[in-house]
Subunit: 144 residues, 2 copies
Amino acid sequence: MASDLASQDYRLDEQVGFLLRKANQRHLTILSGMMPGGLTSMQFSTLYRLATEPGPVSQNALGRMVAMDAATTKGVVARLQARNLIRTEPDPTDKRRYTLSTTEEGRALLAGILPVMREITRETLAPLSPTEQETLVRLLKKIS
Amino acid sequence: MASDLASQDYRLDEQVGFLLRKANQRHLTILSGMMPGGLTSMQFSTLYRLATEPGPVSQNALGRMVAMDAATTKGVVARLQARNLIRTEPDPTDKRRYTLSTTEEGRALLAGILPVMREITRETLAPLSPTEQETLVRLLKKIS
DNA sequence: CGGCCATCATTTGTGCACAAGTGACGTTTT
DNA sequence: AAAACGTCACTTGTGCACAAATGATGGCCG
């Protein structure tokens, strides 16, 4: 019965998992409300990583850099490519791979987004004091 | 060019958004590895909330309690129902609504899962000291 | 060399998450 | 009572996230 469960004293909204999900939800709401060009969080991350990577990058490798699996990466890359923000060409030395690179358009969009991303991070952390903000980031790094 | 972006000094893996997502990912990996009965995180949360709610609950209301929108709730409820963990019946006083309730089977499964959920939370927070764990939960509450 | 195994990109299937729209029903307001 | 507005459940469409499988290719080892 319900009293059995109640006696277990488990508070859903005190669990890290529940709070991580809700915090992430709030962040993504802020992000999609401010992001120019209609990019999603992962489209931005992927584009940014590709733009700042010095050498050539394959699709799977790029996905791994932003913690996406191969199947998810495929979709994100396809959407970025459809918007002419990135380009792919066959790797000459490995017939399995495609080498990805950003387009001029992609880099221009990225430059405009970067200041906004700072603003989005600020807004997400706004309920916390500067010290708390640093603490949160430090602790999240440890459990991610 | 890349140097333009580099000079902007934006570190992706220091951003709250990126870290929230990765922390959530790790937590969900732990969860799906330990969860009995193959329930997902949201299936558990929904079932738990329904089981511990004293009065009758409609579908949309239940979804809101665990921060899901109506469209998402529909799917989660359908899967719980298909497994005979919850039941729905038409609300006599409001023809738009269905009143949800847990089945005996649902409550039994839940009772077995609760200790595991505690273990999952523990595992997720394992990299942190007890004080840090409390701090993280406190800060996450503020930004969720 | 030839077999073995890892990796690459891709596909299929399932499950959240949210936006936008629909028709049925309730409530409130005039 | 009629109109206006809100809510309920549901649908469609898009986008991540991951498991599992596939065929092509590359590296390694005996």
